[in-house]
């Protein structure tokens, strides 16, 4: 379909089937200065994430989970430690790491189509290939018929779908989701969780999602990273057993939820 699309460095273009999207986080620390106070956002965090894994990071506010995601996106840099993606250190934002923000951040003056197309602006490929990719994504996230709608005409769920499509457009090996469903009502949320799983399976990216909804994390992820605040540290990494789709009444599910809830409370 739009196979010719690639990010600016064709040498590292991910081929379907390649093992890409692995992440190594080594001894990362970060301190913010807020007025005269120092806030210790992350303290010596290490993690390794395998290609095509679906990872969730949960934790109370202030545990540094969003900070970690911003490091991965290249929007901030740690004070100490290294982060590598497929062996290369992160040097600023890149289309190889798509990010979906909680507040969708669709540009209000561009239509859905153009918002998604914006992610392909610096990507190689003809206009027709790009248009085809955008159409494919609009179909994938279920926004057919809303191609030329402006963001203020969309519901919260639709905006977030468009935002996810924008993050996916350049086929990033790594997709970062910063509480992507956090602002949605429960019903829309459940539907979008199912869709996220489908999208993940179809696009074959590694996904790292920050959330504070424990059930969401268990429904979607292979592993759940539980973090604790002040200073932000990894408390435990919980492997989620069982095949998808997972039911909230499964004993495995209940056990995982109890374990994580316990970790968060103490």
């Amino acid at each position: 379909m739009a196979q010719a699309l690639s990010t600016r460095a064709p040498a590292t273009e991910p081929e379907i089937g390649d093992v890409v999207g692995s992440v190594e986080i080594r001894n990362v620390s970060k301190t913010f200065r807020v007025k005269d106070r120092e806030v210790h956002a992350l303290d010596d965090v290490s993690l390794s994430i395998r290609p095509r894994e679906f990872i969730s990071i949960v934790g109370l506010s202030g545990c540094g989970k969003s900070t970690l995601l911003r490091f991965l996106a290249g929007l901030d840099t740690p004070d100490k430690g290294t982060i590598t993606v497929d062996g290369a250190a992160i040097a600023g934002p890149s289309l190889k790491r798509g990010i979906v923000f909680q507040d969708h951040r669709l540009l209000p003056w561009l239509s859905v189509e153009k918002n998604i197309g914006l992610a392909l602006r610096t990507v190689l490929g003809t206009a027709a290939e790009k248009a085809a990719r955008v159409a494919e994504l609009i179909d994938l996230v279920g926004l057919s018929g809303f191609e030329s709608a402006l963001p203020h005409q969309l519901s919260g769920g639709m905006s977030q779908r468009a935002s996810i499509a924008r993050g996916l457009a350049p086929r990033p090996p790594l997709l970062l989701l910063d509480e992507p469903l956090g602002a949605l009502d429960a019903l829309t949320r459940a539907r979008l969780q199912d869709e996220l799983l489908q999208i993940w399976q179809q696009e074959q990216s590694t996904v790292i999602m920050v959330t504070h909804d424990v059930e969401e994390a268990i429904v979607l992820s292979d592993r759940v990273i539980v973090m604790q605040p002040r200073p932000g540290r990894v408390r435990r990494i919980v492997d989620v057993p069982g095949q998808r789709p997972r039911r909230r009444s499964d004993p495995d599910f209940v056990a995982a939820r109890a374990e994580i809830a316990d970790l968060l409370e103490t």
Partner: protein, 283 residues
Amino acid sequence: MSEISYKSPLAATLSGRFADKAAIAWGRLRDHATAIALGLVVPLGVLALWSYAVQQQWLAEQILPSPLLVWETFFDLLATGELQRELLVSLGRVVAGLVAGGGLGLVAGLSFGLWRPLDIYVSPTIRAICLVPSLGWLPFFMLMFGIGEALKIILIAKTCFLPLMVASYEGLRNRPRKYDEVAAVLELPWATRVGIVIWPSILPSILTGLRLALSKGWKALILVEMISSAAGIGYLMMWGRKAFQLDVVFATIIVIGLVGWLLDWALLKSQMRATGWSFKAVG
């Protein structure tokens, strides 16, 4: 205090904190110095070009006096007391106009805001009259009131009227109602409500209006003094133009800008002191 992991343990002591603060202060100082140096590049460049142009006699001395001459003229005007005299006349006119026009505007805005029939029947007419800028009314006022002192005061008063009317009216209409409910729940007496709840909630808007009024009034005054006056800073400038003493014109332009800025700055400072809370984001 040793949770600062990215610093050496030695630095993470009290003296380290102090050094930290000193470093920040030094950084700020350096930033200020850089800002000032950068900001001076353009004015100094213009000044150099200006001096060079005068030296090379690109333009006649009457049309482009040398910067040095402007500087000397400025001090001559100060030494003879002429500048202070004319400035005092101008400031007196602005204050008189501001008190008269601004006071009326305040009363009008508050009445329109508090008494609905007045707002429906009278305020549209007043607003329509105010849609024509002061400058437009000038010929009309000149015919009606002559070109004496009254003309200047009335024109400035007219200029200052609208900002204060709008500010007090909008202040009354847009103030948050939730504090009224607090006052009602606390069963505060009427006078206390006005003093503690209503007046403070519209004061920021009124002070902003006052600043706008003063800035507009000052500009209107310069114009009317240029057109018809035998005193004041605008007159001094026009006199310089007619006598083709452009050094006087330059000096007065700078003074006009400076005084305008000083007036606004002084009001802004007092506004921040009086209603500093309103400058902080209210959730």
